[in-house]
Symmetry: C2
Subunit: 377 residues, 2 copies
């Protein structure tokens, strides 16, 4: 396995041709040169040229000819997802989560370490380091084999990977997460806000795969949003999109207080917020009222997003999405009340791993842009 993707001196035209060939080969089917030439509309000669080059770089592999073919069977090629490894990291309030995947984003190892929400910057970064080492060891992968890394964090992140603002983690504003992670792994490291990456994961491999305009709602201890517009993650001019929760009128700041208040008066139990949803599911009237009040506040900001963007789909993710059975119908009723058109509502199937998966997608974006630009060493 090569340590780093080769590249660098493809001409612009050959880069585009290579990208076209790789795009066709990202599907499930291996393809012959004839099929590739037809699909890419490149000449046979150009197709052969590109395929030879990509084979040399390890991006393609040859697979056994189709059985039952008559005469000399044509060679078939597929994308070599094993050529490199990707790393996706989610560093949040309560956990660090690291995924090591192949170039298709298929997970080879997943490591999780629970984190005390009150932990300071140094201690939290130390947990991140341990989590990454554990994931690499679990996948049997050296740091040098990681081609590209995506990092998700709460808070607003700038283009270099620095946390510009975090109001939920202690000492987190100002941390240069990009620089920190670059010390752990070679290759490019990109850092992005967790809600944005969770939205990306839903359109990549989740319940929003078919949709071009999506509002992703992170419903949990914090409330947040990530926006997919015209099939792309919407970042905004300074990468500060999706922050409607900062507006008091949107209701998100007060939303979890209804659940807190119920928890304060309820008999103690081990599983935190989960308890109020369990009690509501069991028919406890006060728990039901607390959940309803929470959803009413959540729905104000959610309606603002829906009325603004008119998305095809709203996806509910985050910790509370496990309790979607008691949340979705009340939320739909509230959206019906405020919105001109209530979009379809779906619940994330990723439990709390969507954010890290979005970080993998970010790493993969970087690799795919490498293919088309040849900028990597």
């Amino acid at each position: 396995m090569s340590e780093q993707p080769a590249g660098g001196d493809l001409s612009r035209l050959r880069q585009l041709n290579a990208a076209a060939v790789l795009r066709e080969l990202r599907g499930d089917q291996p393809l012959t040169l004839t099929e590739l030439s037809k699909r890419t509309r490149l000449s046979r000669a150009s197709t052969e040229d590109v395929a030879r080059d990509l084979l040399g770089r390890g991006w393609l592999t040859e697979v056994a000819p189709a059985s039952g073919s008559v005469g000399r069977p044509a060679r078939r090629y597929r994308f070599n997802a094993g050529a490199g490894r990707l790393l996706g990291i989610d560093i949040g309030g309560h956990k660090a989560l690291a995924l090591v995947t192949d170039l298709d984003g298929d997970v080879l190892n997943q490591s999780r370490i629970e984190v005390d929400p009150e932990l300071g910057r140094r201690e939290r970064l130390a947990v991140l380091d341990r989590c990454v080492r554990k994931a690499l060891a679990g996948a049997g992968v050296e740091a040098g084999q990681i081609w590209s890394t995506g990092v998700a964090t709460t808070g607003l992140v700038d283009g270099t990977g620095k946390v510009m603002l975090s109001d939920s983690l202690p000492e987190w504003t100002g941390v240069d997460l990009g620089a920190h992670v670059r010390r752990l792994v070679p290759g490019p490291v990109r850092v992005e806000n967790d809600c944005k990456l969770a939205a990306l994961a839903e359109t990549w491999r989740g319940v929003a795969r078919y949709a071009k305009d999506v509002v992703f709602l992170l419903a949990g201890l914090r409330t947040g949003a990530g926006l997919i517009i015209d099939g792309k993650l919407h970042r905004g001019f300074a990468n500060w999109s999706g922050e409607i929760g900062a507006l008091p009128a949107a209701g998100w700041q007060q939303a979890p207080h209804h659940l807190h208040t119920w928890l304060e008066t309820a008999p103690p139990g081990a599983d935190g917020f989960e308890r109020v949803f369990v009690a509501a599911r069991a028919g406890d009237r006060e728990a039901l009222a607390a959940v309803r009040a929470y959803v009413q506040d959540l729905a104000v900001g959610a309606s603002a997003l829906v009325l603004t963007l008119d998305p095809q789909l709203v996806v509910i993710g985050g910790g509370f999405s496990r309790s979607a059975d008691v949340m979705v119908e009340p939320l739909r009723r509230e959206l019906d009340r405020w919105c001109l058109r209530t979009p379809e509502i779906r619940v994330s199937a990723f439990a709390d791993e969507g954010v890290a998966l979005g970080a993998v997608r970010l790493a993969l974006d970087e690799v795919e842009s490498t293919i088309t630009t040849g900028l990597r060493p």
Copy 2:
């Protein structure tokens, strides 16, 4: 002058080549075949082929060779904006406005008829008809010379040109504006919401020309929004984007009431809402308080849009934008209060003609898609 653009049997490749050539010729400079070939990266032969074809169709004209050139001067070509005419219509609560333009969107004639806001559907459509006839006559253009028409209206519009919902014009919900206008002019007719088209006009020829992400605020008797995202008009899944004003928490429904209330107690005058801004400008304390209360409500919804999208630019248009000098600073202060990052604020320079200009842009989009697809007869 041809009555309709020719087209129809260009092969797909030639369509793309033709589009590439026309794109280069939409600039100010006439270009030689050598220059065109270099810029489009088409072969000399293909460039000649396309240019001959486009000359025949009337899309190009030859211009006099550059003076002072040595030897036999090369022929130069430019886009023939006079080959056809476009029509842009704005049918609103208080006026009908029609623009006849060339294919560059340069206005040949502009006609306006004031409308009583209480007018019913038939009467309002009759005014629209008169306004269109007046504009055509003023430009010396027959209906048959109109290649493409854009229509702007208040309310939500579907893809066929039908008004799905209008809460501000009597009997307007359900009117098939597309079908009505198709009886007046041949060629394609596209209908769109007025706020969306005003936003489009700002990015095309207005103060938002340089920006990719723009929130356009229509500030007037009604409040509305149009969104430009990643350089394109954002329509949404059912074309119902930008409707955050429907949410009471956004403040836009109550915003104009502060101005109404002041007007009720103020000495009568002829110029409606303008009076409160005039009085505020002159330092009348109660008028200033009314404007401030209006801006405070406007800013809640505006902040929701800014926090959601993180645009580069907010553009203030609509009737009240003439009074921007008393509105913009208070608005900026309110945005500073609620938003994490206050974008630049600019005031539309279009008075109340931006909407009709956006309708022209819509008509032009149609013509340009014709160029690339050759679908027109």
